[in-house]
Amino acid sequence: MSLPEPLAADIRHAVASHAPGVGAGSDGNADPRGAVLEALRLVQHAEGWVSDYRVADIAALLGMTTAEIDNLATFYSHIFRRRVGKRLIMLCDGASCYLNGADALRDAVQARLGIGFGETTPDGEFTLLNVCCVGGCDRAPAAVTGRDRRLCGPLAPGDLDALLADAE
């Protein structure tokens, strides 16, 4: 299936607004590469992840090669090249969270969902990821959940129900 037109339009708009020198002092050397992360994010927002087909679509739209797009999509950790579950749970594995019980929280979440990091439950509901320090060290152990990356914490293993419910 080719890129739906509204999505293509959004990407073209991102190219236009993210080009260098927009406005005063413009040198006119607009380079669509500046919007490539935005394009990946727009696709992911619409479809949940970035498939091989969408890598090719973005490449065609921005005048880049699929290798260039894939090189970026696999480098940045918040771009998903595999299908993820409907709900995302990202547990921080930084030192401040470790010092406040992140290992026990990780074990509890993994036992509850029956999956490890980087995996999705067989029903396609939850994907569990470990992430860098999420800037919630004062709420350690912390997690970010859901598409809008809500910060949760401090989390005890007993808070699992609330954590899972919040991951929409």
């Binding site: 005063a24 002092g25 050397n29 950790s77 771009i79 030192a95 320090c133 999420v134 990356r149």
Partner: protein
């Protein structure tokens, strides 16, 4: 939060101010003051205020601003750029999040002042992907300021990053904005000569920029007087780990770890301090004997560590420091861009050994390898950027400070863990 000027308007729930609310608090008066001054006079004022960059390196902000070429002196036409770096991802660092979420108009004011001082016409606020609330708050505030005509000729926008700690390195950040893999660039040329799209560019940390309106509103002398040392201003300290109430505290530059830990309700866990990292995961461990060191860039460096982002991780003596270093090393190994060999190969190697020490499967020679890696990887210039050196500073200081524990782990694995 306190009544000190940097964060005094931040609401406890971090709800950002509307433009009308911000103006009622005196917002944008500092912008008017800056615009009434010649750009060079603004830079001189920031220099007199002794503002050091708050992103980790502590480089004098005004000196960085002076690197930017005067208009008409660069070949070709085109814009110059101010990039406000909000890619905060260092373990233990959670300070910039407050400015992005709760004080967006203060950041916009700072960006306008800095742009005026450097003749910059384009400002980009780069925010890490996980800070969606901050991205939304900045976008709303920029739209308000633009609609009210407050940006003048400055074009300002938010760019969301997509993960990877290395994006916070200033030249890697520029690569990311150009739609490339975030690999640091070789310097020279420095960004002020050739930065984003080959144009003059300055990258400043969020907290650095948030200080500009404070300086313009109160003057350089008042700003310097906020500090207890020669480095001007207050600092937004972030204290986490084993303290009773982890939190952000704005306090004078030069405040001691003892005071900050006390204000967090003291050391939790056993209640006995084993060590602290004064400036995030990449800073060397300091011990109880350093509790009264004035925390600023110069004094912490003299004590053998790094002030970095001023975000402190506290360890009591019931927590395993090797467990902390193991998590740091996994983090840095995972977040390395992989461009240069010491970082790409050395960090995972060190991380694997630390994991083996925790599991009790390490060999005696592994400690020699760790010591060698820390010694060879620490000096500047051995790798392309400072990611490797920072990681090795935490490892090297741990080896020096916790030698007995490393030996104990070699014999028994980790028997301490992170229990409370």
């Amino acid at each position: 939060m306190t009544g000190l000027p940097l964060t005094r308007h931040a609401r406890p729930d971090r709800r950002p101010h509307s433009l009308a609310e911000w103006r009622a608090l005196g917002g944008y008066d500092a912008v008017a003051a800056a615009r009434a001054m010649a750009p060079a006079a603004v830079v001189d004022m920031v220099a007199a205020a002794a503002l050091n960059g708050r992103g980790g390196a502590g480089f004098p902000a005004a000196t960085k601003w002076r690197f930017m070429p005067a208009p008409g002196t660069t070949p070709g036409d085109g814009p110059s750029y101010l990039i406000v770096n909000g890619d905060e991802m260092e373990p233990g660092a959670f300070k910039d999040r407050l400015f992005l979420e709760a004080l967006p108009h203060q950041l916009i004011e700072g960006a306008i002042i800095a742009a005026h001082a450097m003749h910059v016409t384009e400002a980009i606020v780069l925010v890490r992907d996980a800070y969606r609330t901050g991205i939304a708050a900045m976008e709303t505030a920029i739209a308000e300021a633009e609609a009210a005509g407050l940006l003048g000729g400055l074009h300002m926008r938010v760019h969301g990053s997509a993960g990877r700690y290395i994006v916070g390195e200033e030249t890697a950040l520029i690569e990311a904005l150009e739609g490339k893999r975030a690999v640091p660039r070789k310097r020279p040329p420095f960004p002020a000569q050739s930065g984003l799209w080959g144009r003059p560019t300055t990258v400043n940390n969020v907290e650095t920029i948030a200080n500009a309106p404070v300086i313009l509103a109160g003057g350089a002398d008042a700003f310097r007087a906020l500090s207890r040392t020669g480095e001007g201003g207050t600092k937004l300290f972030g204290i986490s780990g084993r303290v009773h109430r982890p939190q952000l505290i704005e306090a004078p530059m030069g405040t001691t770890a003892r005071e900050l830990i006390d204000r967090c309700g003291g050391v939790s866990g056993s209640g006995v301090l084993r060590a602290f990292q004064p400036g995030g995961g990449a800073s060397g461990f300091l011990g109880p004997e350093h509790l009264d060191v004035p925390l600023d860039f110069g004094h912490v460096a003299a004590a053998g560590s790094m002030f970095g982002t001023g975000t402190m991780i506290v360890l009591d003596d019931s927590a395993c420091p090797i467990g902390v270093v193991a998590r740091h090393m996994r983090f840095y190994a995972r977040e390395s861009c992989g461009w240069c060999t010491p970082c790409r190969e050395g960090l995972p190697w060190a991380a694997r050994i630390l994991d083996a020490l925790e599991a009790g499967t390490a060999r005696a020679t592994d400690l020699d390898v760790l010591r060698m890696t820390a010694a060879e990887g620490s000096p500047r210039g051995r790798s392309f950027c400072d990611l490797m050196g920072g990681a090795m500073q935490s490892l090297g200081s741990a080896l020096a400070r916790f030698g007995d524990l490393f030996d104990d782990h070699l014999a028994h694995g980790c028997t301490i863990g992170a229990r409370h």
